[in-house]
């Protein structure tokens, strides 16, 4: 599975990339990802890539990604070139366009309203991703693995996993 995760610096894109990659790795998959640090972290557009399954590099070419996961609907378009026509978009906020399956999630609002702050939006998006790809992430197993992560808001994760937003 090839994923592109995008958003703006400071929205937790790198953390989300780590959480998803670490989860896949803990589930036993060979996993590789690429992050961008430095200047890009000061509020600019950021994207990271992640490959789950055997690969030597995390580089993804045009039209190759299965999933575009975005913490900011305004950033989706900038990474659309990576997405295959059968690809899935999961984004905070609202996006429409293209032949893609689109899952819009009001993660930021829900996180701020229910779970104590926008910083927990990532946990909701993570839950949504696990729920959308159960054959890869085996939700019950994933929840057990992620329960060990004390920094992750478990309520937000379960909310993302379970309910229709």
């Amino acid at each position: 599975m090839r994923c592109v995760i995008c958003g703006r610096g400071g929205q937790g894109v790198i953390t989300l990339n780590y959480l998803l990659g670490n989860l896949a790795s803990a589930l036993g998959y060979e996993t590789i990802s690429a992050e961008t640090h430095g200047m890009a972290m000061r509020g600019g557009s950021v994207y990271t890539t992640l490959k789950i399954g055997k690969a030597m590099s995390a580089s993804i070419g045009a039209g190759e990604a299965d999933l575009l996961l975005s913490t900011d609907s305004g950033e989706v378009e900038r990474c659309l070139r990576f997405l295959s026509e059968k690809g899935v978009i999961i984004t905070d906020g609202f996006y429409e366009g293209g032949p893609f399956e689109i899952i819009n999630v009001d993660a930021g609002k829900a996180a701020a309203g229910k779970f104590g702050g926008v910083m927990h939006a990532g946990a909701i998006l993570l839950g949504k991703t696990i729920a959308r790809f159960p054959e890869i992430f085996h939700p019950e197993k994933s929840v057990r693995i992620l329960a060990q992560n004390k920094k992750l808001n478990q309520q937000a994760l379960l909310f993302g996993l379970g309910s229709d937003l």
Binding site: R8, G9, G10, N17, Y18, G21, N22, A24, S25, A26, Y29, E30, T31, I32, S33, A34, E35, T36, H37, G38, M39, A40, M41, R42, G43, G44, S45, A55, M56, S57, A58, S59, I60, G61, A62, G63, E64, E75, E77, R78, L80, R81, L83, E85, G97, G98, P99, F100, A112, G117, V118
Partner: protein
């Protein structure tokens, strides 16, 4: 230790531990910064130091290795420029323990001034260099670098690119690590203090060793041609290309070379003689490509098959393979707008003290020239308060010379605290002894923020910036909180006047801790009163990211606002006010 999802930088640090490194020295720089902190994490009992700059880091590690210990240093590619002097010399003397020099390149560039190729330094200095393709490879090739260094007594470079440093990969950390190796210094002046006479002899020895190392390293690599063509790759491009093997299998053999320098001559001619044509993939300079002699059958950067600038990507790899194999590109369906609006540009954080310091500098001397430096505060370009940015420490030298060339203009340079200690000190001393009437703003945020909040020299109370300035003979020194914009403007004006009066640099220290590091709020967000004229001062010119214009008036995002209240001073209409 077990399985995990590790950064390339973490795995290189672990490899140093596994190879018995007893000390590690570094200066932070993206993408290399996490190497030293990871060494501290994995080997807390061993010695690790953030040196003041890369030249010091390399010298400290080299001296340890000359003393028979196993040591390492890490830096980014432009840091290696600073460390080039000891690099070339230690190549000749060699070491008696082991020395690995990790120099991380930044093709793109993503967070650097240049896309330079550290491997060219290895080539120029005549030291071996390994070129890892991904984090797991970085672990293996860092260990290998220590092995070569131990066996042959030469320093060895490891050159990861950003996509290796900042990639994560699932990896099983080996349990076994070597005990840290400490040596004792054995005097040998003909080596460690070699005069030019002995240097020639050392050079001859080094050249011989390189031949042996090349043969030794590649002794197990066999070239068994199955296809008419070959794709020869090293480093990150080899990983990208390996993931596309299905596109050329049968027509081209894939050969991954882990050490682009030195390469045995026999290996090069063997490849040349075995294939009709050869595509070479590497970053960023065509080092390996130019090792081939029969140029007309070799494709790569010099033939335009691979772009000569910019980062190597899956798309550039595919394009190069198509050109090389004379295949038509696949018709992929891409549903993306042909052009997207440029993304939001990076900005200083809400409440960052640098922002108000820049604002005050511009207000104090609107016609001034503002040489800048390297760090978060390079983003002062957005505020039009940074006119030049060349390399670490150059703000002060540029200020001195620009003032000489433009005597009628006030010249105010900005330099961060870490950069000041890195290379700013000799520059300021030079300006002092040459009577340069410049104003120097030291932006003291008590951390090396840009690269991930590494400690600064004055963090632990061994030295203060003020003590340093005193030693440099700078008499006019004002310390100011940049949140107090009025006082800041006055301080900059006074510094410009004092510099002119005394024909000597005058310094303003803007002291305010990095808010992103401290995660502290300075106060409550201000309130917005009616009367906004959309002049753009607060959200465009001052560009605090917490402020947006909603079509009617400005809005302040309570969550990201730091409560610094600088916008209150900035708004010319008094619309923004403290919420008492």
């Amino acid at each position: 230790m077990g399985r995990g999802f590790f950064l390339g930088n973490e795995l290189m640090a672990y490899a140093a531990k596994a190879a018995g490194a007893s000390s590690f020295y570094a200066y932070p720089g993206t993408p290399s910064s996490e190497i030293l902190s990871s060494f501290q994490k994995y080997a807390p009992e061993r010695y690790a130091q953030w040196a003041l700059n890369e030249k010091l880091a390399l010298e400290l590690a080299a001296a340890a290795a000359i003393s028979g210990s196993v040591s390492a240093c890490a830096m980014k590619q432009v840091g290696l420029n600073v460390a080039a002097d000891p690099l070339f010399s230690v190549a000749y003397t060699g070491v008696s323990g082991a020395l690995a020099i990790i120099s991380a390149d930044d093709p793109g560039p993503h967070s650097s001034q240049t896309e330079q190729d550290s491997r060219m330094y290895a080539y120029a200095a005549k030291i071996p260099v390994t070129d890892p393709a991904n984090p797991a490879d970085a672990f293996r090739l860092t260990k290998k670098a220590f092995e070569i260094s131990k066996k042959y007594g030469v320093p060895v470079m490891v050159r990861p690119v950003m996509r290796v440093c900042h990639s994560r990969q699932s990896f099983d950390l080996p349990e076994e690590t070597e005990a840290p190796r400490h040596g004792r210094f054995v005097k040998d002046p003909s080596r460690w203090a070699a005069t030019p006479k002995h240097r020639a002899a050392l050079h001859i020895k080094l050249t011989e060793k390189l031949k042996e190392i090349a043969e030794d390293f590649y002794s197990e690599l066999e070239i068994k041609p199955k296809a008419p063509f070959a794709v020869v790759a090293c480093g990150y491009p080899a990983a990208v290309c390996a993931d596309m093997k299905d596109r050329f299998e049968g027509s081209a053999d894939f050969i991954k070379l882990d050490m682009p320098y030195p390469i045995p001559e026999g290996l090069i001619s063997k490849i040349e003689n075995s294939y009709e044509k050869i595509l070479v993939l590497e970053e960023t300079f065509p080092l390996l490509e130019r090792s081939f002699v029969t140029r007309n059958r070799v494709y790569g950067k010099d033939t335009g098959t691979v772009p000569s600038a910019g980062e190597f990507t899956a798309d550039s790899c595919e394009n190069a393979l198509n050109l090389f194999m004379e295949k038509k590109p696949e018709n992929k369906k891409i549903y993306a707008p042909a052009e997207t609006a440029p993304g939001p540009k990076p900005r200083l954080c809400a409440g960052c003290g640098h922002r108000s310091a820049f604002f005050a500098i511009k207000r104090a001397a609107p016609s001034g020239i503002y040489p800048g430096d390297i760090g978060c505060y390079t983003l002062g370009t957005n505020l039009k308060a940074v006119d030049t940015c060349i390399c670490m420490g150059a703000s002060i030298t540029f200020a001195e010379s620009l003032k000489r060339e433009n005597p009628e203009k006030p010249v105010i340079c900005t330099i961060g605290d870490s950069t000041f200690f890195h290379t700013g000190i000799p520059a300021l001393l030079n300006a002092k002894i040459n009577g340069s009437p410049i104003a120097v703003a030291i932006l003291d945020n008590a951390t090396t923020a840009m690269t991930g909040f590494q400690p600064v020299p004055h963090a632990e109370g061994h030295i203060t910036i003020e003590q340093t300035l005193k030693g440099l003979g700078i008499n006019s020194v004002t310390v100011i909180d940049p949140y107090d914009i009025k006082a800041s403007v006055a301080a900059v004006k006074a510094a410009i006047a004092a510099a002119k009066e005394e024909n000597c640099p005058a310094v303003v220290i803007f002291r305010r801790e990095c808010v992103t590091k401290t995660k502290m709020k300075a106060g409550k967000p201000p309130k917005v009163n009616p009367g906004c004229t959309d002049c753009g001062m607060c959200y465009e010119v001052f560009e605090c990211p917490a402020i947006t214009f909603n079509g009617e008036t400005v809005e302040i995002d309570g969550a990201s606002c730091n409560g610094c209240l600088c916008c209150v001073e900035v708004c010319p209409r008094g619309v923004i006010a403290e919420d008492k």
